[in-house]
Symmetry: C2
Subunit: 164 residues, 2 copies
């Protein structure tokens, strides 16, 4: 399985958005443009996905929709609540394992620090802070068989300026 992880694009200021629910905080106008550029870069580099799983939080969902639209994959996009902030990596691993034969290239759209913790967990066995994912940044893990522990190799970690 090639597991791609994309962090949502730049969203509005947390403080200015409160007291409205953080789950509804959207991408800024510039954030949408940045995600569009990254989506075009993903297409230009010939990457595609069998399935796109996204956090249902607005800023992630908008990010995932832009990517799905750009790649013609609107029917392959599903909400996946373990991708919410603080979500459970074990559920994600089970989902990947369950669909392992059909899903060769899977894109996850979510949040920090969860995404970089998962990369650490799958490459080292420990969810420690080894790397930093920029907003609209993309990472790729090559996974032999998904397990809750060390099972992956990091193939790239791309800040948005290196994809778009």
């Amino acid at each position: 399985v090639n597991l791609y992880l994309l962090r949502h694009g730049p969203a509005g200021d947390v403080g200015a958005w409160a007291p409205r629910p953080d789950s509804l905080r959207p991408l800024t106008k510039e954030g949408k443009e940045k995600v569009k550029d990254v989506a075009k870069g993903i297409r230009r580099h010939g990457l595609s996905f069998d399935m796109i799983l996204t956090s249902p939080y607005e800023r992630a969902l908008q990010t995932a929709k832009i990517v799905a639209k750009t790649l013609g994959l609107k029917n392959n996009l599903v909400d996946f609540s373990p991708l919410e902030p603080g979500g459970d990596a074990q559920e994600l691993i089970r989902e990947l394992d369950r669909h392992g034969k059909k899903w060769r290239d899977v894109l996850l759209v979510g949040h920090e620090p969860s995404l970089s913790q998962w990369i650490a967990l799958l490459t080292t066995g420990h969810p420690v802070g080894i790397l930093e994912m920029k907003k609209a940044g993309l990472a790729k893990l090559a996974i032999s068989r998904p397990v809750f522990g060390r099972c992956a190799t990091l193939e790239f970690l791309l800040p948005p300026k290196y994809i778009s």
Copy 2:
């Protein structure tokens, strides 16, 4: 310190080169072109270096010279034997620490598996295999203070097609 690590470009076949010393094995013609493209990409992305340390092995030295020439840094290029295959990371750390105040951005040009083991050592404390560096690929570590152990965050890992 921003520590950049560049793997040498594609070199001639090991078997066909033998029994000549592996240290003299050069880049192929295509390897040189790939490194030139990456060097231009490094320049276009506005990266520069206070110092370039290279393995004295021919394929790494050629790679480092192409980058130094492209960036106008021929006078900042030095051979550094700990970057040879199987070199000692402790010597590298001491060298970085010694020049810490003058060197803000340092490029290392070397070999696998040493480069990815060093990235693992500096981000996790253990020289385990967590990632893969392609030939002519570039990685960036942000280091607070260089020590032999966990002291760095991986900021990017770029296969050559994402730099050039």
